[in-house]
């Protein structure tokens, strides 16, 4: 919307500036999702809360949300905005309800009164973010932001951009400035309120009923600074440091432990102690010389140090079956110490140096066994060049250096992310472009800095319970499968195991080729083959526990565009996993497994006049054959569909 009368619209009333409605930018969006699957769940979100099943997860339902963005310009140097969005969680069929059914009106013996409790199906509009941004006349300062941001000013290794699916924006105070002219030195500093729900030990920063050792989250902040420089046209450098601080009141404070007597030293004050603090620092650079212009070199060095105070943070390695986003490392005397790690990645990209359409990318990566970006990117980013282990033909994904990876609150057709802490190796990628034809080949070798014999996964290092087996991202369900009762393989967050001596080889080739334009509907053929060999000798003294997993994945697709508005895709994927010694224990022995999965998917997108409709229909059949001496076999026959309808205005 064009701004109307920026100058005329500024009224000064009693010394307070306010923006007339004429200078508002308004942006609205309606989003509706249609989901169906041959199961017994209700809802519009394939994977919801992975632990406590909530009331929005499920596969059968139609749901709508509305978002409104408002931005106002108060003058050249001051803007402000807000983002409003309805709460997700009401399916079309329960439009008369505000919340869950009251306890006595449940599925058993309930009535049809429609009475409900709470507001979690009310689709109420919530303030998701509000901010003001201004340019005060302070030397070197360009902009100050107070309020919400998406944290995109930092990076994946320190403080990652907030996930879209987090819905709400985080808040903080940020100052951007130019310390030296001509991009010689720019800076950004900020203080960010930590998210109480996932930003620390136990995926929280002090929720008493979740962690009896902690109870205060309102004092917890992250502080970050960034220095950027472009000392010459060809070189960009960036230094980022982030400090996370989770405070708790000193539970031994005399004021909290007895009568407020001066004799006891109770002085009506309570000291703070650290429940958790973490430091992440990165230095990264991009060198893109004018000659040779086909060369770009990028590099990153990172360091992290994370300390958990076990007096104020329940050790979920020990008491949570190994599910923890932080380590609980101790020294030889059993005293808690910081988990510290270094990481480095360097990549060279040679874009068609011979002018024949052939490009090369090469990357070396070495991520320390205890590097951990507790507030790093949890998804929707990718720090390595490789296709990785977790991606498939239909399924995309990426690699991130945090134990805090989040593969929940997503649908079955969305990307998956895996943890790369401890990865050490290299990737080479050849890419060939010739006219409309594109082909790519990759080889990656991964060794593991996390290799260790008899690592303490009982008390110090979280293993996320499931340490081996290819992760089947297709079979995660919306019911209580957090216990992995359907044997879906390794948890994507798991990088530590009691016994590990592991290497991985990945090879990928892919191609896409548009058929000649005389053929109607602009057909494009796609193909991908992926091979992974994942070896883990586990306990070196035990010759009968060696995991040897081999993956073959073949994928083919045909996309058509019959009209300007309509695009369709048909695809098929075959997956074969041959996994020796996949499941078991050192004491009970290990057993083989073999998996075959056939997946068919048909999709379309239709865009017209500002409206976008998409639809994907998928069927997959999976056979998991396990050693009958220890396990039963399983079969999946799953039909599922997801449609979306959106219009922005």
């Amino acid at each position: 919307m064009r701004r109307l009368g920026v100058v005329a619209g500024v009224l000064l009333v009693g010394g307070v500036a306010r923006g007339d409605i004429g200078n508002f930018d308004l942006a609205g969006k309606m989003y509706t999702k249609f989901m169906y699957q041959n199961d017994d769940t209700m809802g519009c979100l394939s994977l919801s809360n992975p632990f406590w099943v909530d009331n929005i997860g499920g596969h059968n339902g139609v749901c709508t949300e509305f978002e409104l963005g408002i931005k106002g310009s108060i003058g050249k140097s001051v803007t402000a905005g807000a983002r409003l969005q309805s709460r997700w969680g009401s399916i079309w069929q329960d439009w008369w309800e505000n919340g869950d059914l009251k306890p006595s009106v449940g599925l058993s013996g309930g009535d049809t009164s429609g009475e409900s409790l709470g507001m979690n199906h009310a689709q109420y509009i919530k303030l998701r973010g509000v901010w003001a941004r201004f340019a005060p006349p302070i030397p070197t300062v360009k902009w100050v932001t107070v309020g919400s941001t998406d944290f995109s000013m930092w990076n994946e290794w320190t403080i990652g951009k907030a996930r879209y699916i987090d819905r709400d924006n985080g808040n903080g105070i940020f100052v951007e400035g130019e310390a030296m002219d001509d991009d010689l030195l720019n800076y950004t500093v900020g203080a960010l309120a930590l998210p109480k729900l996932w930003g620390g030990p136990g995926w929280q920063t002090g929720i008493a009923f979740n962690d009896p050792l902690a109870r205060v989250y309102s004092t917890d902040w992250a502080f970050a600074a960034k220095l950027e420089s472009r000392p010459m046209d060809a070189l960009r450098l960036k230094l980022i440091g982030a400090w996370l601080q989770d405070w708790e009141p000193d539970r031994y404070s005399p004021f909290l432990t007895g009568a407020p007597s001066a004799d006891r030293g109770a002085d009506h004050s309570v000291a703070w102690v650290s429940r958790f603090h973490g430091l992440n620092v990165t230095l990264d650079g991009v060198w893109s010389p004018d000659a040779p212009e086909w060369l770009v070199v990028t590099g990153l060095l990172a360091a992290s140090s994370n300390y958990v105070n076990p007096d104020y943070a329940t050790n979920l390695v020990k008491q949570g079956q190994g599910f923890s986003p932080v380590l609980f490392v101790v020294d030889e005397n059993g005293n808690p110490v910081s988990a510290q790690g270094l990481a480095g990645v360097v990549r060279a990209e040679l874009s068609d140096p011979l002018d024949i359409g052939l490009s090369l990318k090469a990357e070396y990566f070495n991520i320390g066994s205890e590097y951990n970006a507790v507030m790093g990117a949890r998804r929707e980013a990718d720090v390595l060049l490789t296709d990785g282990i977790i991606t498939t033909g239909f399924g995309r994904g990426g690699q991130l250096p945090t134990l805090n990876i989040a593969n929940e609150f997503v649908d079955w057709d969305e990307p998956w992310y895996e943890n790369v802490i401890g990865w050490h190796g290299g990737t080479g990628v050849l890419e060939y472009l010739r006219g409309t034809f594109k082909a790519m080949a990759e080889y990656t070798f991964i060794g593991y800095n996390t290799d260790m014999q008899n690592r303490d996964t009982e008390n110090q290092y979280p293993d996320f319970l499931y340490t081996n087996g290819f992760t089947d991202t297709y079979t995660f369900t919306a019911d209580q499968d957090y216990a992995n009762k359907y044997d879906r393989g390794k948890d994507p967050r798991s990088v530590y195991a009691q016994w590990q001596e592991r290497t991985t080889h990945i090879a990928v080739v892919s191609a896409s080729y548009p058929l000649p334009s005389v053929i109607p509907a602009k057909p494009i053929l796609g193909f991908k083959y992926k091979f992974v060999n994942d070896l883990d000798e586990r306990q070196l003294e035990n010759a009968n526990d060696d995991y040897d997993g081999t993956m073959h994945l073949a994928y083919a697709s045909l996309s058509l565009q019959p009209t300007n508005e309509l695009k369709t895709n048909l695809g098929y994927e075959y997956t074969f996993w041959d996994e020796k010694k996949r499941n078991g224990t050192q004491t009970g022995g290990y057993y083989d497994a073999e998996t075959q999965r056939h997946t068919f998917r048909a999709g379309l997108s239709y865009a017209f006049g500002g409206i976008l409709f998409t639809y994907n229909l998928e069927y997959f059949h999976k056979d998991l054959q396990r050693d009958p001496a220890a396990y039963y076999n399983m079969v999946w026959n799953v039909w599922r569909a997801k449609g979306t309808f959106e219009v922005a205005f």
Binding site: R2, R3, L4, V6, A27, K29, S73, K76, T79, R133, A135, W143, S152, M153, N155, E176, M180, D181, D182, D183, L184, P231, M232, D233, A234, L235, R236, W287, S288, P289, D290, E293, V296, E349, S351, D352, S359, R396, E414, P415, E431, L433, G435, T436, K438, P514, S517, K522, N564, E565, L566, K567, S605, Y606, A607, F608, G609, G610, I611, L612
Partner: protein
């Protein structure tokens, strides 16, 4: 002490000594090799500031040089024609374009405007919606190729919505992709009306992909008076200022200064109501003449 020497002295970045800009400050045509119709035009680096005042949005995804066109190529090849637009930065995909049916990059967008006849009274004088430029009568555009990270159905939808009167002249490439620092569009020769001729004129308007554009903008990112997280700055809060960050200019003279002069010639007094004559006139570049 200039910035180059400062860093050499203070940070001892010896390995970077040879990294200074070697790009010509002159725009213009090199001698292209290849089949008839092949074109290779250089554009100076450091002129990604529109009329000289524009600033990038402040979000980290808009890395320096992202909209700084350094070279434009036309490469005919049988029944297709490739268009290459090189920028002064590695092209990345921070918004995961595959998630929205995109083409492997996120922030860049380029409009390649083509004058196939160099005749007055033929072609379109107005720029595409959101670019806020126009063309001279004898240099009106006849074809436009859109290099967008958005998928073809989304681009077609936007064309239908905002530029339907010119949809027969606008070409959404068969293939759009990025490689290294280069945006690549592969277009059917037939869609251009035939193979490129040496008499054709070209203009490349560098813009940024906006997934949530204004109702009058064809997927373009706005330029405002002050830069925002996702808005260019250094222009006005109205639509008379050219919303293009870098353009080609005819050979000869200081190309950077010439671009600044061209894009500064708009009616700065125009606010709510903008007439076509309020907008800056951008030239076509005729490399074969």
């Amino acid at each position: 002490m200039d910035k180059h020497n400062f860093w050499l002295a203070s940070l001892l970045l010896a390995g970077a000594c040879g990294g200074g800009s070697a790009a010509s400050s002159q725009g213009g045509a090199a001698k292209p090799a290849g089949p008839a119709g092949t074109v290779k035009l250089a554009d100076p680096s450091g002129d990604d500031d529109g009329p000289g005042t524009y600033k990038y949005p402040t979000d980290a995804v808009y890395t320096p040089g992202s909209f700084d066109m350094t070279e434009f190529e036309v490469v005919p090849s049988g029944d297709t024609v490739e268009f290459h637009v090189k920028v002064d930065a590695k092209i990345e995909d921070p918004w995961d374009s595959a998630a929205w049916g995109g083409n492997g990059f996120s922030v860049q967008m380029a409009f390649i405007m083509i004058d196939t006849d160099h005749k007055a009274g033929s072609g379109v004088l107005d720029g595409l919606p959101g670019t806020n430029v126009r063309f001279a009568d004898a240099e009106a555009w006849d074809r436009a190729v859109i290099i967008s990270p958005q998928g073809p159905t989304r681009v077609n939808s936007e064309i239908e919505l905002k530029a339907a009167q010119w949809k027969d002249r606008i070409i959404v490439p068969r293939i759009t992709r990025a490689s290294g620092r280069t945006l690549i569009a592969v277009v059917d020769t037939a869609a251009l009306g035939g193979p490129p001729q040496s008499t054709w004129g070209y203009q490349v308007l560098m813009q940024s992909n906006e997934g949530f554009p204004d109702k009058t903008d064809l997927l373009t990112r706005k330029v405002n008076e002050s830069e925002g997280q996702h808005r260019f700055g250094g222009g006005t809060d109205y639509d008379a200022d050219p919303h293009v960050i870098d353009i080609l200019v005819p050979a000869g003279g200081d190309a950077k200064a010439k671009q600044h002069e061209i894009l500064s010639k708009y009616n700065k007094a125009a606010t709510e109501t903008v007439k076509p004559e309020d907008r800056a006139v951008v030239p076509m570049v005729y490399p074969g003449t």
